[in-house]
Symmetry: C2
Subunit: 300 residues, 2 copies
DNA sequence: CGGGCGCCATCTGATTTTCTGATGGGATAT
DNA sequence: ATATCCCATCAGAAAATCAGATGGCGCCCG
């Protein structure tokens, strides 16, 4: 009879559920009705299970189909599995109020100063039990996404490679920050005059080059900085009262607008600040929520 | 795109295993090779899972297929399930040496005295960690099997109903037990002389009638007992030195053969002692072992 | 930067599995 | 005994799954 023992891997959850119903009702026919299938379908499927498990599973005892001991064991595991399937099926809903996950955002100084406070406030308001971690992303932001070290990346990153998604938050450009007493504080700067200034250059290292520098060099010029610093931190106090000029993103400079002067740069180096994420987080409910939240916080 | 969301119950273990392999290898094509199927089969099955779980499960990230968070969760449960399937599949082997189960045997006085000691000894020899429980089965032995109160039933029970299996152990017949000094101890008994004796009748109650009595009554006779007792216990001392005669199974009487006389009865009431079990224990390895052991112990 | 290549999605048709409806045997109930 | 219920089985239909071919997309290499 068992010409070819059927492959147990071909057992599906419908078969396990049928086992459950037959066990519950003690009858193939009744199970068929409950499952809205033909009686012979039940017979067929139970027959297959019988062959797979090499056990009759159910035997007639005075009009009822009674489970064998082996069947009881199999059934117990089957019920567990059916429960697990149900768990697997529920589309990962995300309830910010109850959520306790951690969110890791990769970005740089610019975003840390200008955007993170608003983002953190927004998160804490609707998801007070969540935690936020901010990590820096010099030039390896995309890699950190792939390594799952960060959930999202915010910054001036063109989406080049596949495996990523991104959303533009807003456009930004560079401007010159200087002391209000600087001789050229009120004069429009052309390229030559700009290049002759005493520049404070921010060199983030790691091969990163600011957009205005790329534009400047593409135009055949070269910047000779007076001072090089690794980050915009403390820039305001460095410039105040000096003849130094720093070329930094406009919104960053705007924070010092009360004490310093922000003048247009001949090399504006326009770029976009974007939200970037790895493809593997694209469908996740939590990540979708996070991305929408960041988008609102950085636009509204 | 999701014209008809496929029924998640139609997911089988082969699909879960495919998920596992794709995750392991990070490639549909490689998984197809490993599973000895066509690449399009992998695509088809993963596509079905994608539809069931409403999640891409795998996304391309730099040449590799990377699992989504949801996929990781699903996979974790899938691995558990695949493990459970393997457990379910192993044909319940039974190792008497390690077994700690209990065995419950239903029987009556006759078997308890003549057979149980040998059975228990045999069990304890090969399965020292198992325990044995003996329960009485007046006329409800079959019911106790169905109720799973007993694993096997031993006794003179014809297998009438379905839902049971049985195996004949040996044939038995009734004989007359009396004091060696009894006037008829050496004379062959015919029916009339037998009927005129002073009988000790064992009446088990519960509607049970001994085979020799049925034979006797079928022949139109009637037995008028001098004494009625509910069990053969202590019968030897009751008969010794008296003119009482008890008609009991031959092997039971043989235990008193040194002090009492066992004479053929004109109503032999032949019957079979059988091992009976419920259909739902028929395939169980433990029960098969137990039945074989009992059969050997009662025959060998 | 263009062409080759590897990988997955999709199409078509073949194969296998599963289902329906009908029939028969065995056991139970009347 | 007869009627009835229940499961197994059969033949054919329907559905699911698979193989082979094709196309699109991105990567890699020149």
């Amino acid at each position: 009879m068992p010409a070819s023992p059927p492959n147990p891997a071909s057992i599906d959850f419908a078969a396990l559920d049928m086992l459950r119903v037959v066990h519950e009702l003690g009858s193939f026919t009744a199970a068929a009705e409950k499952l809205n299938v033909n009686q012979s379908a039940v017979s067929y499927t139970i027959g297959k299970l019988r062959a797979c498990f090499q056990d009759p599973l159910f035997v007639r005892e005075g009009g009822r189909q009674v489970a064998t001991d082996r069947c009881e064991e199999i059934l117990a595991k089957s019920l567990q599995m059916l429960g697990m399937l149900d768990e697997m099926l529920q589309p990962d809903a995300f309830a910010p109020g109850q959520a306790t996950q951690n969110v890791t955002i990769a970005c740089n100084y610019y975003e840390r100063v200008l955007l993170i406070p608003g983002i953190v406030a927004a998160i804490r308001q609707v998801a007070p039990k969540m935690t936020v971690k901010v990590i820096s992303s010099l030039s390896d932001g995309h890699l950190r996404l792939l390594r799952r070290e960060a959930d999202v990346l915010i910054g001036p990153f063109e989406r080049a490679e596949s495996g990523f998604h991104s959303r533009r938050l807003y456009g930004e450009e560079y401007a010159c920050l200087m002391d209000p007493g600087h001789p050229l504080a009120r004069t429009p700067l052309d390229a030559d005059r700009y290049l002759s200034l005493n520049h404070v250059l921010i060199d983030y290292g790691a091969g990163w080059q600011s957009a205005f520098l790329r534009e400047l060099e593409a135009a055949g010029h070269r910047l000779t900085p007076t001072i090089v610093v690794p980050s915009p931190a403390g820039l305001g106090t460095l410039i105040a009262g000096s003849d130094l000029v720093a070329t930094i993103p406009r919104r960053l400079g705007a924070r010092d607008a009360e004490t310093l002067t922000l003048a247009p740069s001949p090399f504006r180096g326009r770029f976009d600040v974007s939200l970037v994420w790895a493809a593997h987080t694209n469908a996740s409910a939590m990540h979708r929520w996070l991305r929408d939240l960041i988008w609102s916080a950085c636009r509204g």
